[in-house]
């Protein structure tokens, strides 16, 4: 028991120290959509508000569990969002803004 607790404290301290504040999480969230935006099937450009909200939905619901995939075809963006809606219990509104975020 005691070695476990000591090990836990040491490891947790190391991890916390390594987590320097930076906005790179947002960079991660942007990575996948930005890579696929060049050949996006969507023609409409979302407003800045929608972009920010979509980014928020991505960070709070997708990046909470897994890293952003390094690019994917825009043809499956709708399928991914629908899958995430079920798995992450997204609201209908969150589903819409997330799809628009993917289509940037």
């Amino acid at each position: 028991m005691k070695p476990s607790i000591l090990a836990f404290c040491a490891a947790l301290g190391t991890v916390v120290a390594a987590a320097a504040p930076l906005s790179a999480v947002q960079d991660q969230a942007k990575a996948a959509p930005s890579q696929q935006s060049k050949n996006s099937a969507s023609a409409s450009a979302p407003s800045p508000d929608v972009k920010d909200e979509g980014e928020r939905v991505f960070e709070q619901n997708c990046a909470r569990c897994h890293n952003a995939p390094s690019g994917f075809s825009p043809r499956i963006a709708g399928t991914i969002v629908r899958h995430m809606r079920v798995r992450a219990n997204l609201s209908h509104h969150d589903e819409e803004v997330l799809l628009q975020f993917f289509n940037q």
Partner: protein
């Protein structure tokens, strides 16, 4: 127990057969064909994991290639059919050298009907929504460790899979707080010789976006044989401006209880996520299980057990991860060292070319 062994659980009483894989492929092919008329962005997708992992427990090393495909097929505006399977080879040491075994398992196959903005109806074989590890972190490409937490079988009715129906959705999604739910009923039978293992349960979670804090509670009840109640809770937190994540779960049954806490971080101090240092991901997990009695075989260790897992993952480009970890397990039945390494690749692409707008 390896996560991939966890994937095999649904086939615990069923002889593995290649015919099950063929059946899965035929079924998903039919579903993919049905989705040909999908909209431009609703093309069916194929995803999943291909990987190779090793596990050294007590000085004995097993080598395990694993392939876990996932298919998702949207049908119309409201339906999604999704399924995941697992194909696993295992080379484990025995008295004569190494023995070889293989497993083919259908992890889940479910149909989702999005009825309203607050309700989705799920039918088929699904991952039980008790706590959150089972639904969120069991894909090999997501989990930070190859091993599942020791207490994970609690509340998951042995297999972690339900066969029946589920209602789930978001009750409220607000910038300050969200609440979602999932309730299920299952009458799953893993063997034609046994009666269906009936169970029901549910989960509710609050999420506070500004604090990036999620807290939730789960309940499950087994209604076959000796009735048993399970209760669980989870707490997740993610720092807003740093890549630090904290995850934890606790669960209690009538014969055992336990908890696990996990922390991981992406060190941004030396560059962004695509830098050499930014791809490094130190992870740590602490877990304990406590045995109340040994009257039930619930999958937990037979004696009180403590375990600390230290991992160092590396996120390569193109959705590839290297997973390494060392674990020290303390128990009255014997202490043991566990070393694990692995490389996993996550693929994600359309099932076919599809339509273009």
């Amino acid at each position: 127990m390896l996560d991939i062994v966890w994937l095999m659980e649904p086939l615990r009483f069923i002889p593995p057969s290649a015919s099950r894989l063929v059946g899965w492929l035929l079924l998903m092919s039919a579903g993919l064909s049905a989705g040909i008329c999908a909209k431009a962005q609703d093309t069916p997708l194929l995803s999943g994991t291909a990987g190779f992992v090793t596990n050294t427990t007590g000085g004995k090393t097993s080598y395990i290639p694993v392939f876990a495909p996932l298919a998702a097929v949207p049908l119309g505006e409201h339906v999604l059919v999704e399924s995941r399977a697992a194909i696993i080879e295992s080379f484990a040491p025995d008295a004569n050298g190494y023995s070889h075994s293989h497993f083919v398992a259908l992890t889940y196959l479910q149909g989702d009907y999005i009825a309203t903005s607050h309700l989705t109806v799920v039918a088929g074989s699904f991952l039980l929504p008790f706590n959150v590890y089972n639904e969120r972190l069991t894909p090999t490409w997501i989990g930070n460790f190859q091993d599942e937490p020791l207490m994970e079988p609690l509340g998951l009715m042995s297999a972690g899979i339900g066969l029946g129906g589920q209602l789930r959705g978001s009750v409220v999604s607000h910038p300050k707080v969200s609440f979602d739910y999932a309730v299920w009923y299952s009458a799953r039978s893993a063997n034609s010789q046994f009666k269906a293992d009936r169970s029901f349960g549910g989960r509710g979670s609050f999420y506070f976006p500004e604090q990036r804090l999620e807290v939730g509670a789960s309940y499950g009840r087994r209604m076959q044989g000796t009735h048993e109640n399970f209760a669980g809770a989870h707490l997740w937190w993610q720092s807003k401006d740093a890549g630090f994540r904290f995850r934890s779960e606790v669960a209690r049954g009538q014969h055992a209880y336990g908890y696990w806490i996990e922390a991981d971080s992406r060190p941004f101090a030396f560059g962004n996520l695509d830098s050499f240092a930014g791809r490094i991901e130190p992870v740590f997990r602490m877990q304990q299980t406590f045995r109340i009695d040994n009257l039930a075989s619930d999958g937990l260790p037979s004696a009180n057990t403590q375990r600390a897992d230290f991992g160092l993952d590396y996120n390569l480009p193109h959705n590839t991860r290297i997973l390494t970890s060392y674990s020290r397990q303390f128990s009255s039945t014997g202490n043991v060292n566990i070393w694990e390494t692995g490389i996993v690749y996550r693929f994600l692409f359309p099932a076919w070319k599809g339509h273009q707008k």
